[in-house]
Symmetry: D2
Subunit: 345 residues, 4 copies
């Protein structure tokens, strides 16, 4: 089969690889129908994740058709259409039992990282019963690709951890795909005001069409001032960090109100300064989280009942064998006005 | 009347001051029976809190007898014995209605800070109905002084915010009075293991008698190693910071387990480094809080039913007019093996 | 002034009464701008509430202008426009401090019940600071009348107690004003499906325009069958009872799914049969609640930000001096297709 | 092997049965070390559970040694000592993923009910990875038999669902084994007062030694009066029903305070009367639950750290082949002063 393979920093190829086979009784082999590229994949390609080694097939998102199942798989059978979760859950370790699949002792984020991933014609999914989700006939499968990673990430790490409530004033810092996923799912809880902050006017325009009630371009250094003005100097109830660099985390600290929640989604490469000299008495809560995908069934219901329309996140389409070109487009997201790209096998 | 008055850094005096009078209809005048000294008072005396100005009567803890009440006070009448809360709550602003009395628009921590306090023969208590608590006849009033500040602080900021659960392994960093208050009240939730970490062997001995199941003297730099060993490298479920300096906050980050809670109690004067490069994916929650004293009625019931014995925190007794001497003792806490001192009027 | 006065079962009059005056320092006198009639008022008029005695001015909803305030009122001053809450909260008893204003030791539901109410030109509001809410200039005051009672009742007793979650399938039994208020506010949490059940086709039509995704006319006795069909025999996640008679409570028990919540709003006059022989192992939660109005500030924000449009609940308008006619209309709600009527002074 | 076999109402025998074998890849065969008898087993023997058919081996509690495992079992291997949970969890259905193992689509309570159980020399455990719990070397295995059913039942259905809090006044109605398990585990949350109500003075004596602060013998019909007296007519914060008949459920309704929780544990055979005519405005929560055993790991930690001593629940010991005699003893619990009996293989 063909697959997108990492060969060290800045080297990747769409090349022939052996088709995966069942190894454990809990495995399934899935033929990919549609997959996508994640910001994390770009990091991998730059060599930022040393755990990813030469020869690895990349990708941790997608929908497909079950081709084969191990003996103990009981939730799925060949022919079933499925969503592939970016997080593999064994369903029987201490962490899985607590709903913290991200820290599964045998799974977690391994697809396209420690084992071969989904940017390929076929993929082996360990612990299939707990790591795949069924797609009923007639569903819009393209929209459901957004359930592999980006929607649960925005929702769990940003919205749920931030404890967004009806009537809240919330800020989302970063209007990239994951920030926009937080924006879409934050509206499940009907905040009164959603302020989206970014440095790219195009993304802020998109944020408006997705439900932002205020947008702020922070490139002039006046975002804090603007937020405090808008909130009568009270600050926001929830600040969702969807970038992952020190300045945006700093911004969250400056705009958070007393009793507020800072919910981090961003993947940070460096430490940040935490202003405990002012925060110690401010009754704030700061959370971090690697997505658990424990809300996938809940999110699935909101999509099927048309409460959200995750297709809004999809800007570009390619055939799977055009993936090198898709990487170029996604890698120039600002110029290409790209959010999520769909690759169809 | 006589009172302990701040006259600028390192200058204080036990001197004559006018007896307070009712100013607002919601005030009460309380004759002090017993008061105590808080670590914060030592900070004030060193000039660390510029909001406290020359001439201020210090102190925010105590029990007393109501001497007079304003016209709209209905919960109390002259002669009632009361606990004075360190936090003044108006009961009718946005924050009080949410139970966040610490940020009361007209109150919060003002006693012995922005208005005259309790280290005096009499004190004026604003919003008496919401800031005093009744003491039934026959109660041990000395024990109840611990309800003014230290018990709710350890409980709310450390134990409740840390979400201590039955079976948890928790660590308390700092075995001073507030760390020990967290230790006493953490046991309300029956954690399996309570590790107390400090650099003073005497305080660690006290911690053992208060219920610590493990103690670690961190002065040799091996606390992290010891905790990780004890927890099979999983780290703790809850880390309660009860010191307020960067190294102890750093320690909390190093020992916290995946999914864990870091609950800050310490009053920090400087920013700290937050290791988001490792914490971002660790599903941790970090909380800060100025005590709200919203749990005072709950804590009162646990004392009256002898579930905790806060008198354990009291090591020294003085007459109120010996307060200069009491400050010396409390200021040399390590040498004097002092926790809380009681001053009786 | 003129007021609507109860004179025993089925006797009421719009007649002259003395204008109320400040009695306690915490009182305010409010000139009524707009008021409405509640289903409870009809019960009172039939003599169902013996606590309401001859001579009582009825009504517990409305908006108005503060005319005078007692000495200790600090949140309001004459001239302020205010929402009158149906629940009076002293802000300083055990229950108020817990946010359970409905059981306030000195307040609770007393307006138009134990003390004179709002269907009058003026009303005295005890504990004004905690029982009134400010209306900013430029607000739509008619819509805000819905915040006095009906919206918090539907929201707190039905939606919050029912713990409605994104993706849930919920049922609301009863499409009268309070059931419709639950329908509007349930959408704050984005359930996937909202089934509304009633015996009046007109009300079911209204429910559809308010956001019901399914409606069932239960008069043919097949509501249970229909719900089980629609839910693949799983039953609903949340059943909100908004009628208050044994058959509707029975219906809730028959359609509730394992792990589900039955949230009662209805005012019941009789006991019901609880089928513990089947429910004991079904992991269900049943809640009751007299509205606390503790969510009024939250609901206010959702209205000001146009997340809900409570004016949808208003079907008829009268002058306050036409109140006898308004009672006739509201008393024939089905025929008149009446939901809430607005009386303007 | 030998096993206790049900042969229809009032007929049981200790007789030869084929030793169980692995059927599914997720099975384990466990050699029983210790088992016990549950009140439910007595119901089965009386013919109250028609789903239990002639020939069934009874019993759903015990500890043992793994003898064999199916191919996909990875948490256990032959020779491991294990606790057998009364609830079988597949770990991969909708309910298991929500932690509601009691309603597992393929499991739930099936042992000694729909499949052969633990009152035998060997038992087959389906979904072993999710339905067994490891016992470390050196543990007190007899105490751990209490983790199969009774402790999680008292804790989950009574204490957790009742939301017992520090300082609460709670009542436990029924001082049989499961009521006593609620009594032991309620103390994890440090209620101020625990009132235990029963009609058997011996059991009330036992309750006192287990931590009850008040006991009431309800046989004189004055239990309500006594509770209201003791609570200054406020009623209790939590009422735990551990009997399962209408009069005890009635009692719970009469003693529950405003805002309180009624947590049902009892297995009810009949409907009860729910007094909605008074409860509708009392802000109460009523819960039912079949134990999920989701807290087994938490409870295990509290036992290993000696926070509770479940051996207190064990009153009698027999060899497994004396099980007919053990049934006689347990069936005459009052006379024999029996709580839990241990049968050793």
């Amino acid at each position: 089969m063909k697959a997108l393979v990492y060969h060290g920093p800045d080297k990747k190829a769409w090349e022939e690889k052996p088709k995966p086979v069942i190894i454990e009784t809990t495995d399934a082999i899935v033929k990919i129908l549609k997959t996508t590229i994640c910001g994390t994949d770009l990091h991998i390609m730059r060599g930022d994740l040393p755990a990813v080694t030469d020869g690895r097939i990349i990708g941790h998102e997608g929908v497909g058709i079950v081709e084969a199942t191990g003996n103990s798989v009981s939730n799925f059978k060949p022919g079933d259409h499925v969503i592939i979760s970016c997080i593999t859950s064994c369903g029987k370790c201490e962490y899985c039992k607590k709903g913290m699949y991200s820290h599964c002792e045998k799974g977690g984020w391994i697809l396209g990282n420690l084992i071969d991933g989904t940017q390929a014609e076929y993929v082996r999914i360990p612990y299939a019963d707990n790591s795949l989700y069924p797609i009923p006939a007639g569903s819009d499968e393209e929209a459901l690709v957004m359930l592999s990673d980006i929607l649960p990430t925005g929702f769990e790490c940003g919205v749920l951890n931030g404890q967004v409530k009806p009537g809240d004033t919330i800020a989302i810092i970063g209007a990239g795909p994951v920030g926009l996923a937080a924006l879409l799912t934050a509206q499940f809880y009907t905040p009164a005001e959603i302020i989206v902050i970014d440095m790219d006017d195009n993304r802020l325009e998109v944020a408006k069409t997705f439900g932002a009630t205020q947008t702020i371009n922070s490139s002039n250094g006046k975002a804090v001032e603007r937020v405090m003005e808008f909130t009568n100097n009270k600050g926001v109830d929830v600040a969702i960090e969807a970038v992952g660099v020190p300045p945006t985390f700093e911004l969250c600290q400056e705009i958070i109100g007393a009793g507020g929640h800072i919910a981090n989604i961003g993947v940070h490469g460096k430490s940040v300064t935490l202003h405990m000299e002012t925060l110690w008495s401010k009754n704030v809560t700061i959370t971090t989280r690697l997505v658990d995908t424990v809300t996938t069934p809940m999110l699935f219901k909101t999509i099927q009942s048309k409460k959200i329309h995750p297709k809004q996140l999809i800007t570009h389409h390619f055939r799977l064998d055009q993936i090198m070109e898709a990487y170029d487009t996604f890698g120039n997201a600002a110029k290409e006005k790209a959010l999520k790209v769909i690759l169809t096998n």
